[in-house]
Symmetry: C2
Subunit: 315 residues, 2 copies
């Protein structure tokens, strides 16, 4: 499970908590703070929890930064983190800052809630479909962007992608990672979700497998479609076996929710989230009878997800 749920001593309430921290992966400190916060909150949202009562911020400040770098970068990261927390209706009270060789940022999200406020992830049934709320390929996009300054690497992919494509994909990845899964969490209630997880470090298939493993019913997940940030599928392929994006193993940061929904509600879910947020969600697979495993079919359909700016406009 993405968060731990602990029954409390007080009348039917449960403590729902999660923690996560990450190393920098975008060059904008403010956006990095937002991403770190969205990444922590995402574990609550995967349980359909919409309220976060408190956040702690955990910061490791690199002892290799100059004073000047530190004074510029750290406050921006902290502001990004706090702004994202506020966007989620929460706030940051407490935390710790330490010196560390590597820069790290993360936090703890905690909520105290009644049983009807969260959705256990283990109720998928045969006939459900799987919805994904953010495109894949964030790590590929982040790496490709870094390679713009590394001719040796860049030469490997420049036949399949233009510099402009890479810059757009990177922007799309950055905004996607900083976007909260909160609306998705709310709609899980409205459309009777049977369980969800968020897609992060283990990639789509890793998290789908983990979700399949905990199911109460004898079900399996079969994934047919892979929505991927435009051109990143080609970049992934050009890099050989490096990312394993098509195999579902490419790492994501602050990825989408993967949600098992009743078939007849899934389309409405996708329509609703797009209407509210201006971002698409996709039906990517089905729930079959099976032995609690997940797989991607042999030749999955790649959905090229165009880069959009912050306001949802196509570039």
């Amino acid at each position: 499970m993405d968060s731990c749920v602990t029954p409390l001593r007080h009348g039917g309430l449960s403590l729902v908590q999660t923690t996560d921290f990450i190393y920098p992966l975008v060059d904008d400190p403010y956006m990095m703070g937002k991403i770190a916060c969205a990444n922590v909150l995402s574990d609550l949202y995967a349980l359909g929890v919409m309220e976060c009562d408190n956040m702690l911020m955990l910061l490791g400040v690199s002892n290799k930064m100059t004073d000047k770098e530190r004074d510029v970068i750290v406050p921006l990261m902290m502001r990004g983190f706090k702004d994202a927390a506020e966007e989620g209706g929460s706030s940051v009270n407490g935390g710790q800052t330490v010196m560390n060789p590597w820069l790290t940022i993360g936090g703890v999200a905690t909520t105290v809630c009644q049983p009807n406020e969260y959705i256990m992830p283990d109720n998928a049934v045969v006939g459900d479909v799987l919805v994904l709320t953010k495109p894949l390929g964030t790590q590929v996009a982040v790496n490709a962007f870094q390679w713009l300054d590394q001719p040796e690497r860049w030469n490997r992919i420049k036949l399949v992608v233009s510099e402009d494509d890479v810059r757009k994909a990177y922007q799309r990845a950055m905004f996607s990672m900083s976007r909260l899964n909160k609306t998705a969490a709310r709609l899980m209630h409205k459309y009777n979700a049977h369980g969800a997880t968020d897609v992060t470090g283990f990639g789509l298939l890793g998290h789908a497998s983990n979700l399949a493993k905990v199911q109460k019913n004898e079900v399996s997940f079969v994934i047919h479609n892979l929505p991927i940030i435009a051109k990143m599928a080609s970049v992934g392929k050009a890099c050989g076996n490096m990312f394993k994006l098509m195999q579902g193993h490419s790492e994501e940061t602050s990825g989408g929710l993967l949600i098992a929904l009743p078939r007849e509600q899934a389309a409405a879910f996708c329509k609703d989230i797009e209407k509210q947020e201006g971002y698409q969600a996709w039906i990517i697979g089905i729930v079959e009878k099976g032995n609690r495993t997940a797989r991607i079919i042999d030749k999955p359909r790649v959905i090229e997800v165009p880069a959009k700016d912050k306001d949802g406009e196509l570039w």
Copy 2:
């Protein structure tokens, strides 16, 4: 304040949370885990909170350790952390492990409680006395122990301390740091404490000053006595200005609670804790009228605290 207190949406309850992590300072991984946990819980105990509803463990595993080292050290540290959590009546559900250049261990302690379960730290009044529940000098002891293998350093202190003294002081420091402040927290209620803090990275005077600063009344803290692990005052002096132990600035890890208590209750508090735990607490200062500052008098009395083993026996 040592923990953050956040009002909840549910009937009068508050969320009390704290987080802390540290770098290794003893050579026993199991004890290191216990110390890290005791250090986190201590922030709750400083508020008189006795129940911890959940703990998260945050682990940074050094990428410089060999596989063998990692496989031995990490499970021991985790067991120590979990055992200390259980000793505190809590348990560890959740957390995160990441690779990091430095080994780090820490966690998050969370409790949901009613207003009568915690004691705000800001009610000291003129005439109160200050009690300290663990001896000072943990950092000096840990450093002196490391210097046994560094002739250059050892030569600087060997005139004032024997190898045997250092080994005993180190053991005492290790057990002291791994001891929970839970009994002290319980007795804060019994003896009507007016506020407390725990003594850690800023040293005795740093934390006393922080506590003085938040007081509602116009008071100041004056410290007359310094209970210090036996011989460590001499070691501190022999090191010149390095530790500033006598000035109250020597860093402590998982130190004692510094508690403002009504004068007529303080002696009973000290007697009670010694009866229950076999470890002394000391009246170290007084609360005077003043401008919310703290100081140590010019020539404070040093109380040499003998080394004891785990069962409280004098060596």
